[in-house]
Each structure stands twice: as C-alpha cells, then as structure tokens.
Symmetry: C2
Subunit: 426 residues, 2 copies
C-alpha cells in the first residue's frame, strides 16, 4: 500500500466535546494509518507523494452502524405506517424477493453503487435470511472498497413463510453455508451474526445461533427496544426476561461474549441501559427511522453521559436515505424535541457530539477508526462546498457545520479513502 | 405569452386527501393558466407547441410562505441556540450588514440565484429594516422569474441599535420610500408589510404601520407564538392583550383587513386559533426551524381539520435550507413525534396533506396557484429521478413520494415554469 500525504482543510473529532479544525494542513498516511495532522509538513515526510485538495474540506469517513441493504429499493416510500405494520406491508414483501438471485443482483448492485458514492466508509449491514443473496451482497460490497460487516438475517417467525427459516436445523445449516462461503475470501468484508429482532426469533433458534457465534467468534447486530408496540410483544413472548435485551444477554448476544451493536434503544429500561453500559454494547442511533416509524426519540444525551458507546445509523429504509450527514442533523433536531417535550434534564446534542458519533464513536466498532489522530486507520472524505457560495468570511468550523446541515454529500463526495486506500466515489 | 402543452408523468393535489397521478399525460397552458390535465390531448390543442419531458415527473412548483433572505448567508451554522439567543448572536449581527449595499448585493445575489435553481416558484420573503437593500433584493428577485412578496422589516426595539428604526417617524418615512420605489415597477415582485414580531415592535410603530397598510392595501407577514420564551416576553410587553395575535388583530394585521401570513403558531392558545380560523389567517408551518430553534411542534393536523389555511415555509435560516421538499418530510416526521409525545388524538400528517400544503395550500395566498386544475396559474417543476435508480416497478405515486423523501431537488430541477413562463433553473 502506498504512503502519501493529503493537504487541505482538515477537521476531525478528538473527543465528544472537541473537533480539531486545521486550515491548510497535512495528514500523513503510512501503512494505511494516520501519522498525525500537521500545520507544517515534517521534513521526514517531504519525499512522500502529496495530494493537494486546495480549499476543500477533509474529514473522516462516515460510519453507518445500521443499514438494511434489501430495503434500499423502497426507501422513501410507504412512510405512513408504524414499525410492525410497515414491516408486514413494506419490508417483508420486498425482502421475500431476495430468494431470486437475479433480482438480488439488480437491487444489491444499486445499493453497493450508491454506498460507494456516499460519504460512508464503514457500515454494518443487514441482508435477508437468504444465504446465497447474502454472499452476492458481500461480493458486491467488497468491490466498492468500503469496509463492512454484512449479516445473513436469522428469523423463524412472525413474517411471511418465505421469509422465515424453514426450521432451526435448516437455519443453522444455511448460516454455516454462508459463513463457510465467505471464510478467508475478502479483504474488507466480514460476516456478522444477525438475529433480526426478538419478535422474529424463537428461543431454540437463539440457542443454536449461540453455538455458531462462538465457533466462528462473530460479532452481533440486532434491534433493541425500538417501538412501544414491539416492546410489548417482546414482553409477551419472553415473559421471564427482565427486560428486552435480557434475552439477547442470555444467549451471549449482548456484548458479554461478542462485540455487539443494538439499533435504536428508544425505550430501554434502567436495567437494560445499565446492562448495555456494563457490557460495552454499541448503540446505533437512527433518528430518521425513529421519526418515520413513529417510534420515538432515543435519550442519546443520557447514553453519552453514562459512557455508553454510541454511533449513528441510517437504518435505510426506516430512514429514507443513506446519508450520515443527515443522521447527524436529525440527531440534533430530535434531541431538541426530547428536551422540549420529554425531559428537560437532558440538553440537546451539540454538533461536536454528533460529529463524534458519526466518526470516532461508531468507528470504534471497527477498531481505531473515525479520527485522524496518530495510529488511526485512514478513512477520509474530501468535500467541495464551493457549490454553496457565501458572501462573508467563514471559519473552518463554520464551513464544516454548514456542509453537514446543507447535506452537501447528496451532491457527491470529491474523493474518498478507506484505510489509506483511495476508492472511486464518482 | 406563448401557449403550449407539457407532456410527462403529472402529479398534483386536488384536495388535502387526494393527489392525482397521471402517467404520460398532458397539461395544456394558455394565457399562463392550466386548461387541465389530459390522458389524451384533445384535438383543439394539437396545434400548440408540445414539450415532451418523457419519463420525468411534472408537479406544481413549491410555495415557500416564509423565508428570510438576509439569513441565507449563515444558514446551517450556529445551530446550538434557542430562538431569542439565536436572534441576538446569529441573525441580528448578520442583518446589520445590509446597511452596506455592496454586501447586500453580494449576499442577495447568492440568495436569488439559489432560489432560481430551487423547486420553489412562489415565496414570501423577509428582508431587513433597510429600505434600499430591500429594493435591491426586489430587483434581484424580479430577475429570477419567481413570483414573490418581499417585505422591508419594521422593528424598533430589542435588537442592536443599527437594526432598529431610528424612531417611528423615520420608520414610516423609510417604509413609504420603499413602497414608492417599487410602485408599478415589477411584474412578479410585490411588497408585503412586515412588522418583524411583537417583541420587536412598539405600539406606536404598529399604529402608524396600520395607516400605511391601509393606504397601500398591503398584505401582511409576521411571526406568531413561535417559542415559549418569546411568548412569555410578549405577555409582559402587551399585558392587556387576550393572546399573542390579539395585538396584531387590534392593528388590522390578522386577516381582518389584510391577507395575512403568520409563521410558526406552535404555541397558539384556543382563542388565538379561533381568531386565525375566523379571519382566514394563513399559517406558515416551518418544521425544520421549529426543531432547530427548539421551539416545538405546531399542531398542524388539528389546524387542517379546523379548516385553517396552512402552507409550508423553509424559514431559512431557522430552517437550514430552502428546500420545500425537505419541509414536507420534516412536517410528517415531527407530526409523528407530536402524536407519540404530545397528543395521540392527532394522527400524523399524511403525504397527501403535506404535498397539498406545499403546493395548493400555500399557493392560495397567491390566488389560484399550486394545482394543475383548470384555471390555475401554471407553476410547474420537472423532476428527473433517474439518478436514483430502482430495481422494481414503481407506481407514479411511489415515484413522487420517494423523489420528495430523497430530496432530489438538491440535485437540481430539470425545468421550471412560473405562471406559464419558462424560467432558467440550471
């Protein structure tokens, strides 16, 4: 891998409360990792090739901790429903189609292509229960240059028959086929165990998946305490559990044994929050989805202050698009409504906090990712904000904030690097 | 003005509950007005020039009932404040600059250019208190081809001295100069009386403005019951008023004598709502701004069911951008949170309702505007959704919904017509 230097207006999070903004500075990349950001290029790096991005902004790539690839096809449609109805009427009928590999190829090619063009450099992706289509998706994601976790979904109830595993035995067989098929195959694409959510998973299925998880040492992703109706149904299905996540915990899917992402956490109880915190569970905060499906507002300010690990998720197609820029501003906006209507003890999220979650916060799931501090894997995107002219002088911090608020990612990313490798994004 | 026919996939509101979606159909435009939408072109129109937009979508132009031109320069910045603090720290210091006509020209040229490119065909615009810069803005808006109301702002307190009228006499003198300067000058640009908001207007100023309003028969725009802190301050400033809008009403600025738009109406009392309804006051619903400034959520579903006239506003820079597409989806999203957290008696807004507000609802302020029904002035935008490919068959209604949710307006409008006249938008 080639070493190089990038020059431009560099911004990155160092903590939840601080963004470093370095005008006309240098990032040095060696072996795919940052050697730090410098106002003046140190002499020992002067012989490296330098790419000068002029007056453009260079920021860490976005991390999307929660997105459903098969739902990309119907994003932004049928939005007048709540979670459980929306799953039955929108999501499940679409996901059924991924049994057909021709359709899966058409749909996943569009998804992969759009992810390539987006501001995202790392993502945790749900596929469907179909192992062949999931392998196909992994092949396509590998071609994009992004670094991703992709999960074949496991569910054996509460969905159309074609979308449920035939039985637990077949589920495990399919899951193993999928895992064997991608073992050692990819450089950038990794499997992640993906029990869909508790209403869709029987205990026998969870029990057997636990064995698979241990055998392959897999991380886990799922949904948690998203919508009141769903939370009620989980209470009925698992009457002996102390809280929703308790059942995940019982089977080793709650950070206890496995690195875990739980999407949403809007309605988590005190006990659940404590268990998440204690076990280092990552929360994928998906504010657009939580609005679109009328789920509510997750108390993210509180999670941050408790030291819970939080990143952002687009949750396409609960969320309408893959923009993590949009997720940042949505997160701030809903936190203001939370403060106004739900609990004024928790102040609105700041821009610093959401930028942290979108980069370094979510990036931690992938290792040292999401910042330009020394030793971090170099994921970077270059932004051209010149199509949004302004008449006054602006600081770099102001240009960063407006670029995010104005969703300039939707007009394309000027350049993109993942772990020190340039990837095509236009 | 040339008569013509447009062909394409045509969608428009006929009522709050119905969008007509007409694949591969025709709109006939004569004398700037729609002669209706036809599946097959009637013989009498066959000789008119036909512009075929192929598989693209043709929808009514967007109506923005509330936007601040001088705040465009700092949109998407300094978003971590509430209304009153934000005005003092962000809005007022910027607005002071419009005393300088060179700066005003730079800044307003950017604003006018971006409005020209946007999905908006009609807008109601706040300028600043500076009459010369307001004339300059009107000249620039006239060049865009959009049809707009533009208001010189009146305020005489609670702002930096440079932003307040010197005294009531000077305020009226300046207001008259501005009105005389644009009398009979424009085809598409009209003055609108613009007392900023009650915290910024003394009673002597309001009293004198009432005379000017009558003399020039002006419509009125202002702010109403936006933020709890503001509402409290108005109670103290006008202790004898029954409600916030009561003072506007007293001076004939509340639909009683004048066609009136009031922005926000988040915290309106029962009495105020009844007065708005009875007087035909238009509400400009600005959901992004109401989130960004932590103002709250306006009970729009209730207003619609009461028969109150409601349109959408971008409220730049309370809102971060000028997209009325975004305002539509924001309006649905916050209405879901209103239902979840504030009052479950009011169901979330539907896509049909917000599309109505963005077009025909707000358009009513301009006359027969915002629909393609026979007799409506022909404001149309042409959308190219091909940059967002999809693998399945979609209905036209689905393509419309996803185009709005995916903010495809931010990638540019393919073509734009205002009152039957084509305007440049790229």
């Amino acid at each position: 891998m080639g070493d190089f230097v990038l020059k431009g207006n560099i911004c990155y999070s160092v903590s939840k409360t601080e963004i470093k903004a370095c005008p006309h500075s240098y990032i040095v990349c060696m072996d795919g990792k940052s050697c730090g950001v410098f106002e003046k290029l140190p002499q020992q790096y002067e012989s490296l090739p330098l790419i000068d991005y002029g007056n453009r902004l260079i920021i860490p790539g976005m991390v999307d901790l929660h997105i459903h690839a098969p739902q990309y096809a119907f994003r932004g449609m049928g939005m007048d429903l709540e979670l459980m109805g929306w799953l039955q009427e929108q999501a499940f009928p679409e996901e059924v189609k991924y049994e057909d590999l021709d359709y899966a190829c058409d749909a996943y090619s569009i998804f992969a292509e759009q992810m390539r063009k987006s501001a995202t450099t790392r993502a945790c992706i749900f596929a469907t229960r179909h192992w062949k289509a999931t392998v196909l998706l992994m092949n396509l994601m590998e071609e994009t240059g992004l670094i991703t976790y992709v999960g074949k979904v496991n569910m054996d109830r509460q969905a159309p028959q074609e979308l449920c595993e035939e039985d637990v035995e077949q589920a495990i067989l399919d899951t193993r086929k999928w895992l064997e098929k991608n073992r050692g195959k990819y450089r950038n694409t990794m499997p992640i165990l993906t029990p869909r959510f508790l209403p869709g998973c029987s205990e026998p299925l969870l029990e057997k998946l636990q064995e698979v998880r241990k055998e392959y040492d897999l991380p886990v992703q799922s949904h948690l305490s998203e919508n009141p109706e769903e939370v009620e149904s989980v209470k009925k299905l698992f009457p002996n559990a102390g809280f929703y996540g308790d059942t995940y915990h019982k089977y080793g899917f709650f950070g206890n044994d496995a690195k875990t992402i739980m999407a949403h956490c809007v309605w988590s109880t005190e006990e659940e929050v404590e268990c998440m915190r204690g076990n280092g569970v990552f929360v994928a905060h998906c504010p657009a989805s939580n609005m679109n499906l009328a789920s509510g507002i997750a108390p993210i300010k509180r999670y941050l202050e408790l030291g819970i690990k939080v990143g952002l998720g687009s949750d396409v197609a609960g969320g309408q698009n893959e923009s993590i820029f949009r997720a940042m501003t949505d997160a701030i906006q809903v936190s203001k409504l939370y403060w106004r209507y739900v609990d004024s003890a928790w102040k609105p999220l700041t821009f610093e906090e959401v930028f942290y979650m979108a980069t370094k916060g979510g990036g931690e799931f992938f290792g040292k990712v999401g910042s330009f501090e020394e030793g971090y894997e170099l994921d970077a995107i270059v932004l051209d904000d010149s199509m949004q002219p302004y008449p006054q002088e602006l600081s770099l911090r102001q240009r960063l904030e407006r670029s995010i608020y104005l969703s300039i990612d939707l007009n394309g990313i000027y350049a993109k690097y993942v772990a020190g490798k340039k990837v095509k994004c236009s």
